[in-house]
């Protein structure tokens, strides 16, 4: 089935709390017209391509102690051994040993490691995509220090090339590639939206300024579902009196290319932002409240660009923290207790752990930390594209219960985070469980409480 | 005792046992003697225990010696070194210690019998002695 057909047969569902395809029961989890043998062949080739020294070190080091299971929300929620993080890499590991490890020649010659089969790959699709949010909590427990999340990310490349991506995730990614936004936020839609929001909220939202000091980006979730973020961003940047702009040639920071495993698509999406920022002559690129966007641009952007970026890259929370600490942003005291959910890609794996707390501190909010917080905070369960995949819902909801309990136990009045993907997952969970907690955006919270000049 | 001031004390054959404590073998030996003595009284079956083959400490020997004690008979035999034969406090239980010419112990036995074989005059020796005595008295008579 051609890509357009898939999109037309299964158009995106935008009205639900989370984005996905319509009619998910009719699944289309294989893409393209490759034969089984070709799929295996392709998957193997692209697995092999990614086996550098770091990946090899990790794949050689596992001692099968099984501790990673104890860090993973999917395993902890289900107690199903197949959700043990390292087990999700079994075919990948098998491919490594057979094709690229130091003893590969022996493994091949004696057939000690069998070739990976298409059945295996199909079976593992659900493990590589459905049950891994790439949150990397397991990395923190592994006694060998193996970064399992990064390996799952690599494994998705081969799966993607073999056309073995879960239906919804593939569809979203494909649309992002085709339209520039997974959720249909084309430049035109974006510009219209900005114009409308500027009018509605009486706030200046500059788009496509030729020159600006700061280029700001948004995630399509925000554009389509949480447009208040655009307004909040504009309010704050205007409040700071910065020369900033959105760029219609690079505004969308989401990373379904990466999540689905399509490096090419990811590269294209990232380059758009980089070129736009350079075109504007900006010295700062602000990333939106989107976790994977942070990892993709902050830590991979320069590598995709092939050299150091000529501008700084900051997550919006980092930007807020800088300006809160230097006193540029002044807010009214919030006077409420709140708890903060650390988005994995920004906090645990991105290193921006203290930034949101600095911002909250500036807000005068009484922060009540959850029991396991900061770097070891539990994942929302929806990252890494999982929230789009319908068949993952049962385990995702189970995992979300851990999160709910954690938030409830904290006993704060408000729940805040700085990742729209988390926010979407929380909203969906709230809706599913009829929970009384609504996740707030850190950005919006700041914007709403700005002290009038 | 390991002092140089004692260098001129002549020490002959220090006991081979090095450790001082009890090995726990003495009880077993005493029980074995009891069994042998019972058998001897009931059936006349004699028996013996070879102490040399058992790992006994100095203290073990001391215990055995004081427990068994000295009885009425104490004999010395003088052939290729001396042999000591002592009846213990328990008639029928004999302690025999065999020394060689260099006064090392070559065998150390506890025998259960009315009289140890080695004390008896061998029949052939008696006959030969008789012949000798006859020769002697014959010679005397002839003189």
């Amino acid at each position: 089935m051609s890509t357009a057909e898939i999109d037309s047969t299964h158009p995106l569902e935008l009205d639900q709390p989370r984005f996905s395809v319509k009619n998910p029961e009719a699944r289309y989890d294989k893409q393209g017209d490759l034969s089984d043998a070709q799929r295996v062949e392709t998957a193997m080739r692209y697995f092999v391509k990614d086996f550098g020294a770091v990946a090899a070190t990790y794949l050689e080091s596992c001692i099968h102690c099984g501790m990673c299971a104890d860090a993973c929300h999917f395993y902890v929620a289900t107690e199903d051994p197949k959700y043990t993080p390292i087990w999700k890499l079994e075919p990948f590991k098998q491919a490594y040993k057979r094709e690229a490890g130091p003893f590969a020649a022996i493994y091949r010659a004696l057939n000690l490691k069998k070739k990976v089969t298409v059945e295996q790959l199909e079976a593992w699709q659900a493990l590589i995509y459905d049950s891994c949010t790439l949150c990397g909590r397991c990395t923190l427990i592994c006694p060998m220090g193996i970064d399992i999340a990064s390996l799952v990310g690599l494994a998705r490349h081969g799966m993607n090339q073999a056309g073995l991506v879960p239906h919804e995730l593939w569809a979203v990614a494909e649309r992002a590639q085709r339209e520039g936004s997974p959720l249909g936020a084309t430049p035109k839609v974006f510009k219209d939206r900005c114009e409308w929001l500027a009018d509605e909220n009486q706030v200046a939202i500059p788009v496509d300024k030729a020159q600006a000091d700061v280029v700001v980006t948004m995630s399509s979730i925000e554009i389509m579902k949480y447009p208040d973020s655009i307004v909040a961003t504009a309010k704050i940047l205007n409040h700071l009196g910065l020369n900033w702009t959105f760029r219609s040639d690079g505004y969308e920071a989401t990373n379904f290319g990466m999540l689905s495993g399509n490096s090419a698509w990811q590269q294209e999406a990232s380059m758009k932002l980089i070129h736009a920022t350079i075109a504007a002559g900006a010295k700062l690129l602000i990333l939106p409240e989107c976790g994977h966007a942070y990892g993709a641009m902050r830590w991979q952007g320069a590598n995709i660009y092939g050299k150091p970026l000529p501008f700084r890259v900051l997550h919006i929370s980092e930007f807020l923290a800088e300006n809160t600490k230097n006193g540029a942003i002044k807010t009214k005291p919030l006077g409420k207790t709140l708890t903060f959910h650390d988005p994995c890609q920004i906090s645990r794996r991105g290193g921006a752990i203290e930034a949101p707390r600095d911002v909250l501190n500036g807000l005068g909010a009484a922060l009540i930390e959850m029991k396991d917080t900061k770097g070891v905070n539990w994942c929302c369960g929806g990252g890494g594209g999982v929230v789009t995949i319908h068949r993952a819902d049962p385990i995702r909801y189970k995992a979300f219960q851990i999160k709910m309990k954690q938030v409830d136990d904290a006993g704060a009045e408000l729940l805040v985070s700085s990742c729209s993907n988390c926010r979407q997952t929380f909203d969906d969970g709230q809706n599913h469980f009829h929970w009384d907690k609504t996740m707030l955006s850190l950005l919006e919270l700041v914007a709403d409480n700005l002290e009038d000049k | 005792m390991n002092s140089l001031t004692h260098i001129n004390i002549k020490v002959i054959n220090p006991l081979p046992c090095q450790s001082a404590g009890l090995s726990g073998n003495t009880d077993a030996i005493l029980h074995e003697i009891l069994a042998l003595l019972e058998a001897f009284v009931a059936t006349g079956q004699t028996g013996a225990i070879d102490l040399h083959s058992l790992p006994l400490t100095v203290a073990d020997y001391e215990v055995l010696r004081t427990t068994l004690g000295d009885g009425e008979v104490h004999a010395h035999i003088n052939v290729i070194g001396k042999t000591e034969v002592r009846e213990t406090l328990y008639p029928g239980v004999w302690w025999l210690t065999y020394y060689n010419m260099e006064e090392d112990i070559v065998a150390d036995l506890l025998e259960v019998t009315t009289i140890p074989e080695i004390l008896k005059s061998p029949a052939e020796d008696v006959r030969e002695g008789l012949a000798c005595l006859r020769d002697l008295t014959g010679a005397v008579t002839m003189m």
């Binding site: - | 065999y98 070559v106 036995l109």
Partner: protein, 352 residues
């Protein structure tokens, strides 16, 4: 020559009383760990028999085994050769030489054919027709075959005749072998040691004389009664081994305090012999008591167990060059493997 003279009669005539003979038998029985009553049976059997004819052949040897026998305290050599056995041929001790000696051997063989005990010390060279050791122009090999025919049993005294010993040590220039390598149709008892403890030689002879057969042997032909335990098991320094107290040199505090010699290469744990119990030279000492580790001399191939000062837990030799070659090979293999993988990856990159 009075052919029917018994040992008992002979002893009486020599002024040896029956009591002293009984005592001698008691000591032997105790040494052999026989049941105490066995002494009487032994005395009885011996006094009725002629002295056992023994023919002793010396091959590739150093005479240490015979010398050891002369140091025997219980029984003494005199007791043995005058009261227990008739040593009819023994080159080191016998009066006659040359033809007269050869004649003594032939006469003894004839008169006790099928009954004499053959003792052998020294290994037998088999290379090049046995030219490496001859007596009276006859190779050791031929002499052994000849003398084994009429023997009731053969006792290989010393490690050389038991297992080949030092002539057999690598590279074994003369093709030396043991008695049991050659003689397959007669009972052969090995009494190894370099040399063996004299009481052990004497004790095993006494057993044969008493019972007319060899005692129970272990899997390599040694009498179990003397070779059942390791030196280590019976060593007076064993408690220090258990405590982990070891002499590090021959003259440190541990050495002076009689600590375990394991680290100095003692082979006591793998050596089966009675040194630690019977001890040497009338019980005054044994190698470990005198500060040197056991060489393991009652074990086959003990000469080829690496240095005597190499502890048992270490490799026999430091083949560092082989290991180093392995390491370099490993590096090379690693480079090749990584190179192949990289090539594989680049190839895929180009395909794309």
């Amino acid at each position: 020559m009075n052919e029917s003279d018994t040992l008992g009669a002979s002893l009486v005539r020599s002024g040896v009383s029956r009591r002293s003979f009984l005592k001698f038998c008691t000591a032997m029985a105790s040494l052999m760990a026989l049941p105490p009553g066995a002494a009487y049976a032994m005395a009885d059997a011996l006094s009725r028999a002629q002295r056992q004819s023994v023919i002793w052949l010396s091959f590739q040897e150093c005479t240490g085994c015979v010398e050891s026998l002369t140091r025997s305290f219980d029984p003494t050599l005199e007791q043995m050769i005058f009261e227990m056995i008739s040593l009819d041929y023994q080159e080191t001790l016998q009066a006659a030489s040359g033809e007269a000696a050869e004649l003594a051997r032939v006469e003894a063989m004839k008169s006790s054919y099928g009954k004499y005990l053959l003792i052998v010390d020294g290994s037998i060279p088999t290379k090049d027709g046995g030219v490496y050791s001859t007596v009276a122009g006859v190779s050791n090999y031929d002499r052994l075959i000849e003398m084994a025919k009429g023997a009731a049993a053969i006792v290989a005294v010393g490690t050389c005749s038991s297992y080949g010993g030092i002539p057999h040590a690598n590279p074994n220039p003369t093709g030396a072998v043991s008695v049991s390598d050659i003689i397959k149709d007669k009972p052969v008892m090995n009494v190894p040691g370099c040399p063996p403890i004299p009481s052990v030689i004497a004790g095993t002879l006494a057993y044969f004389v008493t019972y007319g057969k060899l005692p129970e042997l272990d899997h390599i032909g040694r009498p179990k009664v003397f070779y059942a335990d390791t030196i280590h098991d019976r060593c007076y320094r064993r408690p220090f081994y258990d405590q982990g107290k070891f002499a590090k040199t021959f003259d440190d505090e541990g050495a002076r305090n009689g600590w375990c010699l394991y680290e100095l290469g003692c082979k006591g744990p793998t050596t089966y012999n009675a040194c630690a119990t019977i001890k040497w030279n009338g019980g005054v000492s044994y190698p470990i008591e005198s500060g040197h580790g056991c060489l393991g001399c009652s074990e086959p191939n003990f000469w080829d167990n690496g240095s005597f000062y190499r502890p048992l837990s270490t490799p026999l030799a430091s083949n560092t060059h082989i290991i180093a070659a392995g390491t370099l090979g490993g590096i090379a293999a690693g480079v090749v493997a990584a190179g192949l993988s990289r090539k594989h990856q680049t190839h895929i990159g180009e395909e794309k």
